[in-house]
């Protein structure tokens, strides 16, 4: 092309470009193909939606299962007991915390306004004082009305003898509602798993990235450190720490995080070792791009494929670990909503099969959904996978 021609071409192209700016699509074509592959795995796709629905629902557990009403209208004032803890004196009592399940308070509010309850009137630690038989008691639908409400002062005619006070899955050996504990337990498990997985991913990916990118001595020393580190028996450490520090969600999370990040290092490091010799990484170096930018812009996306593929499986592992610690009694503090604790109760009370079954079904559904999502993710990132 001669210069004159070139100039003319440039002019026309400029105009064209100005006339219709090309908008960049939200998903790159590669990611579009991945999403299509993910959707092609129907089981994983539906599992994702079911899991997300369950997760979002349980995030609002307080509005589904709670011993406090959602909205109360009392003497012309609109109150939100779910969000705000009102002292009992507000309703004429003298305790610091209001027990809305108390018939006195209930009558007082009903007389001066109204209240809207969540569908299940128990929180995970609410003790049902009116269980039809000694706890653990059966699911409410297994009793007739008479037995179910026998413990209420007015029996069948008691205002508390309603569906909202049912124990759909029975109660545990401390007369707490199993369904409420399952809902809260699901949330705690998933949140614990998610935070632990994301935390380990951030630490593990950074550590793997640094080792893989710089290689040499950095890599050598870090690898030896990891070998020593991962040789520490986590369970013993948890036992020792549990004797010193009060057990709690975040202490447990922190302790697990100290060791779980190691899982990501190997795969990310390998990916970086491979990719740092790619020609486009060399090209970026030749442009004078600093190491930090090369790591983030050119190398991390490569490692992300491996990381994302691992993520659902690590998440599953984290949840199982929490459950097993709870089962052994080294997990969350006593009284917390935990599926492991539910399983332990099931094991102790073989005469109350609803405990073990509820725990087992919840866990297996949650873990299966996540595994199906994980499989679909793996399909989505498999470059050789073609669907017909």
């Amino acid at each position: 092309m001669s210069d004159v021609q070139l100039k003319a071409a440039v002019e026309t192209q400029r105009e064209e470009v100005g006339a219709r700016p090309v908008k960049r699509p939200w998903l790159s074509p590669l990611n579009k193909r991945r999403w299509a592959n993910f959707k092609a795995n129907r089981r994983g796709y539906w599992s994702l939606w079911i899991f997300l629905a369950l997760f979002v629902l349980t995030l609002f557990s307080e509005f589904i299962a709670n011993d406090k009403p959602i909205i109360v209208s009392y003497k012309g004032e609109i109150l939100f007991p779910v969000l705000v803890a009102y002292p009992e004196e507000k309703f004429g009592g003298f305790y610091a915390v209001t027990d809305y399940r108390d018939p006195v308070i209930r009558d007082e509010i009903e007389a001066n306004g109204w209240m809207i309850w969540p569908p299940i009137r128990y929180s995970y630690r609410t003790v049902n004082n009116a269980v039809p038989e000694a706890a653990p008691s059966r699911p409410s639908w297994q009793y007739d009305v008479k037995t179910r409400c026998a413990q209420y002062p007015e029996g069948e005619n008691d205002p508390d003898c309603i569906v909202g006070n049912w124990n759909w899955l029975g109660t545990d050996d401390q007369a707490r509602d199993v369904l409420a504990r399952v809902i809260y337990g699901f949330r705690v498990s998933v949140l614990f798993g998610l935070i632990l997985t994301l935390g380990s991913a951030v630490i593990g990916v950074s550590a793997g990235a640094i080792q893989g990118y710089f290689g040499g001595w950095v890599d050598l020393l870090f690898q030896r450190f990891i070998e020593i580190w991962s040789a520490i028996p986590v369970l013993y450490l948890l036992l020792i720490v549990a004797a010193v520090l009060p057990p709690g969600f975040f202490i447990l999370l922190g302790l697990m995080l100290l060791f779980s990040w190691v899982a990501f290092v190997g795969v990310v490091r390998a990916e970086f070792l491979r990719a740092r010799n790619f020609e486009y990484v060399n090209a970026a170096r030749a442009l004078g791009v600093p190491n930090r930018t090369i790591i983030f812009r050119h190398l991390l996306p490569n490692a992300m494929v491996a990381t994302l593929t691992f993520l659902p499986f690590i998440l599953n592992g984290s949840i199982s670990t929490l459950t097993s610690l709870d089962f052994l009694g080294f997990g969350l503090p006593p009284g917390s909503a935990s599926l492991g604790e539910l399983l332990k109760q099931g094991q102790r009370n073989l005469n109350a099969p609803w405990l073990g079954i509820a725990g087992f079904v919840t866990l297996s559904i949650m873990l299966s959904l996540l595994i199906f999502v994980g499989e679909a993710t793996r399909d989505a990132f498999d470059p050789r996978k073609t669907f017909k």
Binding site: E16, L30, F278, A283, G288, K388
Partner: protein
């Protein structure tokens, strides 16, 4: 030519299914190969020539590949109708194949002997002594020296040419009637290519086999083929005896292919032009460490004391076989790897600068890499790729101004700027190389190291890229260091040439003098291999 052809392909089509969409890779292709004949299938990448050849032995990834139509008759039998078991009896026995990349087509974990004996025992049931004797005979036949010593060697211990010879030995083990050679010399040096082609021609003559030769290189076709089929976009557009096709091409595409050789003249040598890059006694030695304490016992002298001067507006060509240290020299000059010896860029000593201190200079010192598929990040759009350097070297530039520079750079390399939001995989090899050139040019460099920028491209695209590079040089007074093993391209682009072998300069001087009157055997061998595909007397070049 006998009445019945050995292989007869009629109306063959190949379709690939991906994501529900079907694309036709080969579209109703027909050709015959007679006994003892060499047929060349010529075309550019993506024309469907390899796919046609692979479908003869049904080696395609079924079921994502399918044959909507066609018939393949080999020696009277319909191969399409054969079951997997009967096909296996044909594969590696009656019809054998050699592939492009000898490193990856040999199993790295097995010795040469094991791999050849496997073929012998599979089809002929040979065992032990008998198989060993036949293996030695075959290795001798394909020109491997001292085959007894080579029997226990693993593929990585052999050179590229030797590996390809082993592949040929495996293909010949069962005395096939048809040999399919899929670009067997593309991955090899020109000098080795000439040796392999000579070997193939000799063996074909001796064993009386037929050959289906797939290549994109017309020079090879003229040398080796009896008849030629020209393929483009899945169709055969022209068939005929080699001489006829070359002398009197009928189809437009054939003429286009024939005209595709890089043409034009390099800039006139100007010894007074300002030197941009000067290297004095540049050395790159890689230490060989041994023992528990990793003591340095010796060095691999990749570049061993080389003087170069690259002047503004001029091109210095660096030629040599693979392993001669060309690319290492270029990387050392661009300070991508550490080296000894003085390097002056634009009047400044840069050989002692750290990576960070080099950064401001990087914009004036750019590199274009060999493989346009590897050198562009697949996750970044073209605009992001090109503006990456601008973000670093001109951080104050606003988004609009930066976009303007990207558009200018794309225009300059002859690409439609509207495509800048697309991703590299949507572009062809030639277009990708243009993007890589635009990435270098957007920074207005003074010196560009071109590391085999054309060797991964099709012939006709090569010529376009050479024209583009020459145009850019004239417009911006660029200094090029052009590294290539392809002397045709070097002749079209470089006004000065240095010839390298084993890290040292064998010959240096103006291009006219080197090409017109080469002084050393090595240079003469390179030139005759590149331009006439002839082998040199033994000893002048590597095997």
């Amino acid at each position: 030519m006998s009445a019945q052809p050995l292989l007869s392909i009629r109306d063959l089509s190949v379709a690939f299914t991906q994501g529900g969409a079907e694309s036709l890779a080969v579209d109703h292709v027909s050709f015959d190969i007679a006994k003892g004949e060499t047929l060349a299938l010529v075309g550019e990448s993506g024309s469907g020539k390899s796919v046609s050849a692979l479908s003869v032995l049904k080696l395609l990834p079924y079921p994502s590949a399918s044959h909507p139509s066609g018939e393949i008759r080999f020696d009277g039998k319909d191969l399409m109708a054969l079951g997997e078991k009967d096909l296996r009896r044909v594969r590696g026995n009656k019809i054998t194949m050699i592939f492009q990349e000898p490193m990856t087509s040999l199993n790295p974990l097995h010795t040469i002997e094991q791999q050849i004996v496997e073929v012998l025992s599979l089809h002929q049931g040979m065992r032990d002594e008998q198989a060993r004797a036949r293996t030695l005979e075959l290795l001798n036949e394909v020109g491997i020296r001292e085959p007894e010593k080579r029997l226990g060697a693993y593929p990585h211990q052999l050179s590229g040419g030797q590996r390809q010879r082993v592949m040929i030995a495996m293909a010949l083990a069962n005395e096939p009637e048809l040999l399919i050679a899929d670009e067997p010399t593309t991955a090899l040096d020109v000098t080795v290519q000439a040796q392999i082609l000579e070997l193939l021609a000799r063996l074909k003559q001796k064993n009386g086999m037929s050959m289906l030769f797939i290549t994109h290189d017309l020079g090879i076709v003229r040398k080796i083929a009896d008849r030629v089929c020209v393929m483009t976009k899945g169709k055969i557009v022209e068939t005929g005896p080699t001489k006829e096709i070359f002398d009197n091409p009928q189809h437009e595409y054939t003429r286009h292919l024939l005209a595709a050789e890089p043409k034009g003249k390099p800039p006139a040598p100007d010894p007074d032009a300002r030197p941009v890059m000067i290297g004095e006694q540049v050395k790159v030695w890689f230490p060989i460490k041994q023992g528990f304490f990793r003591k340095v016992v010796d060095h691999v002298k990749a570049v061993d004391g080389i003087d170069v001067t690259v002047r503004a507006g001029q091109t210095l060509g660096v030629v040599g076989e693979s392993g001669s240290g060309k690319t290492t020299l270029g990387l050392a000059l661009a300070r991508m790897i550490s080296s000894k010896g003085e390097i002056r860029f634009d009047g400044r000593d840069i050989d002692k600068l750290s990576f960070n201190a080099m950064r401001p200079l990087r914009r004036e010192l750019q590199i274009v890499f060999q493989d346009p598929y590897g050198s562009l990040s697949p996750r970044m759009s073209v605009a992001e790729i090109i503006e990456e350097g601008l973000r670093i070297h001109e951080p104050k530039l606003g988004a609009d101004a930066r976009d303007g520079r990207v558009v200018d750079a794309l225009n300059e390399v002859g690409l439609d700027p509207a495509t800048r939001f697309r991703y590299p995989h949507e572009f062809s090899g030639g277009q990708r190389q243009r993007i890589a050139i635009a990435r270098a040019m957007v920074l207005n460099p003074k010196f560009v190291m071109l590391d085999e920028p054309t060797s991964a491209l099709d012939m006709s695209v090569q010529a376009q890229v050479v024209d583009l590079l020459r145009g850019l040089q004239a417009r911006h007074d660029l200094a090029y260091l052009f590294i290539s093993h392809d002397l045709k391209v070097v002749r079209a682009l470089a006004n000065d040439v240095i010839v390298m072998r084993n890290g040292r300069i064998v010959e240096a001087g103006p291009a006219d003098q080197i090409f017109g009157n080469p002084q050393t055997d090595y240079t003469r061998a390179l030139i005759s291999a590149a331009f006439r595909i002839e082998t040199a007397p033994s000893g002048a070049v590597n095997e």
